[in-house]
Amino acid sequence: MKKEKVPILEHELVPKHEVLGEEAVAELLDTYKIKKEQLPKIKLSDPVIKEKEIKADVGDVVRIRRESRTAGKALSYRLVIE
């Protein structure tokens, strides 16, 4: 049987990831008054980051939109590391 890849991005438990543009990153870092390294991290080897649609590279910042039990929708940002 041939293994078919499951489209993980469409899975309901996988939150929406997107790469942030340079300006958006600068703005984000300014709002929280932090350096890039102080963001939470995500590995390049993370299945979501490896997906073609995301195309994130080391040093990129991804925005994650999650469903939250307390706030409805919640935003989070992660720095891609190797």
Partner: protein
């Protein structure tokens, strides 16, 4: 004070050279004290390595006892010995390096790759352990050295501290510690870096000891027993052993003893040094004291809960604390604690004597040690003087500004009160002291839930705050009334409990008419000035004496209703609507909620602080629920809520005292016809149904449930049927007992117990289970010899048809014990597991902090959460975890408009 900043911490191994350099004395004699009672020169309790005898001076630094911190000494080992703590690492290094040239068995390429990996991990401040582990695995594969061509041999690690080399012919050869050391010495410095070690700080051969550091005597003080005999510390005992064997080894070797004896002694020296470091090695018998008690050596001093880290550094014993049994006192405030006078006389607060408090302090000192007095005073020069029977008067005269006075705690002082296990922050709260006679701490019963306390012998701790800052913090952050709303679920954790709820339930249920005297009685000790307009008047019944009336004059008596009486303690302006605990959930079954016209009076409506309708029960005022309390807290604040909780308790007690309330064995009695009904309609019926199910099963007619086997289906159906039987018998029992039954009343109002408890006591205990299944363990095919093998009937598998009141039959009793044991084991396992889990969580989360911008960050400033809990809400200031109750806001605003 000059401060210094730590730039870094260097970890490494002690080299033989370093050990000698830091040593103040070379120890050669195993003896401690000489016959003259003075420490022996070059002995283990040598005056060069620290003093523990008063009056003697250290021969190294000249300090007296207490001044001299102690100095290390050393023992020159006659034979090299493996350091037990590094035994495994030595083995790994041996397998990873060439036996001839000492280089790491890796090609140039691999070498560089690993070096880079290690460097990268270092930069990231991450653990290099994983990389090094991989390297060892890689290097051990190599069988021929790529640098010198030497054929490698397999090395065997013989726990705890022996290494053997196996050659091609499978012959074993022991590697003595000296051989090991030689090999490790050959490893070039560049290669040492591959093990994640810095060759400057940690050469691998330093893991093989040739010199043993001797800790200062101050780290292993001897104690003098009452008999005047000296008793040495365990470490000293161990060092004595080491020196003795070391000496014997030397003597034997110098005398040219046979190799066998030398090796034996070498082995023995290794054993003593092993147990000196760690007396808890697997497979090694622990070194014992003469009495047979295992010695407490270095590792034991550091390890575990009572070890140096967890026991002496993370946690210490504290001063200014007290502990005793708690007992209830409903007459003190919820933020007070009754403190026995005996405790108050021991605990003190240090007060600086100033111009402004001078007279008061002099008065306090003049009282001496009698209760609100003083224990110590400290003069302006820092000298501490104990206040005694003979000197307190002179001290009061001498008292001057700039002195410090350690005065007793007294009424109104703020203290921290705690009950272990401290599982959440409400386990430690600030209370105000109230000095009382007796020997127990007194605690208002309404504050039991946050501490999870009861009065069956619980003990609690009290801590007296010593600085003004601490007192301010406690008052603002830790006061009981501030913590009425639990940060766990955003609802009140302090509220009415047990009899308070029963009392309120009894008061607000049914239509009652109270004349003025009764009302005043119920409101006794509650601060109310105005009873308001009475609801109406009634004609006095015959023989009723009305004060102030003469002869046959009939004067109607004004009365107040039960709802009015309750309303008197509600704050004005409170509007609230909710369903009480007795609500039949009409809405869920598709019917309309009748609200005010509810036949059970379960719909509570409060308008402008007046209880219009509804019975007050657990939902309204209970701890963990407390809708009214939550509302008052949000609308009126801490202080009013505190007063309200106190008033509610008073009201409840006053009323329940008036009407009386009790529960006894006879309250579980059901009339004979009821018992008959339970036996026939519930239990017998169910048992027959079970029989039918079994017959269907045996006749292979049973319809299998999806996803289950036939056997499982049968079990499930039987369980269901018997469960129903118990519920049904409970319903019957409830009908016969009626709401007036105190047990039912408590269950329905939420005061204590459940209908299930009552069912089991009065009607039928029901099916006993182990792991959610009927009981089936025991003999082959049956649970007990009383039954036939293969019997699947209800009573053969743990159905208890009797009630507790009736008494259980022997087999029923047995099954009940089986089920009960599981519950017992479960709680024991759960507490230990959740305790450990809590410890791990605390260790992981203790440094996280919510910053002013709402982000959660760890110490390096790295963001963990962009907004605390995603919504930034502090649950202890929320409404059941929500920011606002939208419905309520809308309802309020509509009301304002109309």
């Amino acid at each position: 004070m000059r401060t210094k900043k730590i730039k870094g911490i260097k970890f490494g191994l002690l080299s033989a050279k370093e050990i000698r350099k830091m040593s103040a004395s070379r120890i050669i004699t195993p003896d401690t004290y000489g016959e003259d009672g003075f420490p022996i020169e070059r002995g283990l309790v040598n005056q060069h390595i620290g003093v523990i005898d008063p009056g003697l001076r250290c021969k190294t630094c000249g300090g007296r006892m207490g001044e001299c911190p102690g100095h290390f000494g050393h023992i020159d080992l006659e034979a090299a010995v493996i350091h037990i703590g590094y035994a495994k690492l030595i083995y790994r290094i041996l397998t990873a390096t060439c036996r001839k040239c000492g280089k790491v068995l890796l090609g140039e390429e691999d070498r560089n790759r690993f070096l880079e990996d290690i460097e990268r991990q270092r930069e990231r401040q991450a653990d290099v352990g994983d990389v090094v582990k991989l390297l060892f695995k890689e290097a051990a594969k190599c069988s021929v050295c790529m640098y010198c061509g030497e054929l490698q041999q397999r090395i065997k690690y013989d726990k705890p501290t022996a290494y053997k080399e196996i050659d091609e012919e499978e012959k074993e050869r022991r590697l003595m510690p000296t051989d090991v050391r030689e090999r490790l010495e050959r490893i070039p410095g560049e290669d040492v870096a591959l093990f994640g070690m810095a060759p400057k700080n940690a050469r691998p051969e330093w893991m093989v000891l040739t010199v043993l550091p001797v800790p200062p005597v101050t780290a292993r003080p001897s104690i003098t027993l009452e008999s005047g005999q000296r008793s040495e510390d365990d470490l000293t005992h161990k060092l004595v052993d080491i020196i003795r064997i070391n000496q014997r080894f030397m003597e034997n070797r110098d005398a040219g003893a046979p190799q066998l004896i030398i090796e034996d002694l070498w082995e023995l020296l290794q054993y003593h040094i092993n147990t000196y470091f760690d007396n808890d090695i697997a497979g090694v018998p622990p070194a014992r004291h003469r009495s047979g008690r295992p010695l407490k050596t270095i590792s034991q001093r550091l390890k575990g809960k009572e070890g140096r880290f967890r026991g002496s550094l993370s946690g210490k014993r504290v001063n200014f604390s007290a502990r005793t049994v708690i007992s209830p006192d409903p007459d003190i405030d919820i933020d007070e604690v009754g403190v026995p006078e005996a405790i108050a006389k021991e605990l003190t607060i240090t007060v600086n004597v100033t111009e402004r408090n001078f007279d008061v302090m002099r008065e306090t000192v003049r009282r001496g040690r009698t209760h609100p007095g003083v224990n110590y005073v400290r003069r302006s020069d820092g000298r501490k003087v104990k206040v005694t029977e003979s000197n307190y008067e002179t001290l009061a005269e001498e008292l001057d500004i700039g002195w410090k006075v350690e005065r007793h705690i007294r009424d109104g002082d703020i203290v921290l009160f705690n009950r272990q296990p401290s599982l959440h922050r409400l386990s430690i709260m600030a209370h105000y002291v109230m000095i009382m006679p007796g020997r127990t701490f007194r605690l208002n019963p309404t504050v039991c839930p946050p501490y999870n306390a009861d009065y069956d012998g619980d003990e609690m701790n009290m801590h007296v705050l010593q600085t003004e800052e601490a007192r301010a913090e406690a008052k603002i952050l830790m006061a009981v009334q501030r913590n009425i709303i639990s940060p766990r679920f955003g609802r009140p954790i302090i509220g009415s409990i047990h009899d308070y709820i029963t009392g309120l339930f009894l008061l607000t249920r049914g239509e009652k008419r109270f004349e003025k005297e009764k009302v005043l009685d119920i409101l006794h000790k509650i601060d109310i000035d105005d009873l308001g307009v009475p609801a109406g008047t009634f004609e006095p019944p015959d023989g009723y004496e009305v004060s102030g009336t003469k002869g046959d004059e009939v004067r109607p008596i004004p009365y107040w209703t039960e709802k009015q009486v309750f309303s008197m303690i509600l704050p004005r302006g409170l509007n609230l609507e909710f369903q009480g605990k007795t609500c039949a959930k009409c809405v869920e079954s598709g019917e309309e909620c009748k609200k005010e016209k509810c036949s059970r009076d379960a719909y509570v409506r409060i308008q402008d602080g007046n209880l219009v309708c509804g019975i007050i029960d657990e939902n309204a005022l209970g701890s963990f629920k407390g809708i009214i309390i939550a509302r008052i807290f949000r609308q009126y604040g801490e202080e009013i809520t505190k007063v309200f909780i106190k008033n509610v308790a008073r009201l409840a007690i006053n009323y329940i005292k008036q009407v009386g309330f009790s529960f006894g064995i006879s309250d579980e009695d059901i009339p004979e016809e009821g018992k008959e009904q339970i036996r026939e309609e519930a239990v017998h019926e169910a048992e027959e149904k079970v029989e039918r199910l079994i017959r269907a099963y045996e006749g292979e007619e049973l319809e299998t449930l999806p996803g289950r086997t036939v056997d499982e289906t049968l079990e499930l159906l039987i369980m269901q049927e018997l469960g129903r039987a118990r519920d049904y018998s409970g319903d019957i029992a409830e009908r016969y007992l009626g709401i007036e039954n105190p047990g039912v009343l408590m269950a329905k109002s939420g005061a204590r117990g459940s209908m299930l408890n009552l069912t089991q006591m009065a009607a039928c205990v029901g099916q006993q289970s182990v792991r959610g299944e009927r009981i089936k363990r025991g003999y082959r095919g049956r649970t007990l010899p009383h039954f036939k093998p293969g019997d699947r009937s209800a009573d053969a598998h743990g159905f208890v048809r009797a009630s507790f009141k009736d008494g259980l039959s022997p087999t029923e009793y047995f099954f009940h014990a089986v089920g009960g044991r599981e519950a017992l084991v479960d709680t024991a396992v759960r507490t230990s597991q959740s305790g450990y889990f809590q410890r791990r969580l605390i260790n992981a989360l203790q440094d996280l902090e919510v910053k002013n911008d709402g982000t959660v960050r760890e110490t390096r400033g790295t963001v963990v959460q962009f907004k605390y809990g995603d919504d930034g809400v502090d649950p202890s200031k929320s409404d059941s975890g929500k920011f606002v109750d939208i419905d309520e806001v809308i309802r309020e605003s509509i009301k304002v408009e109309t």
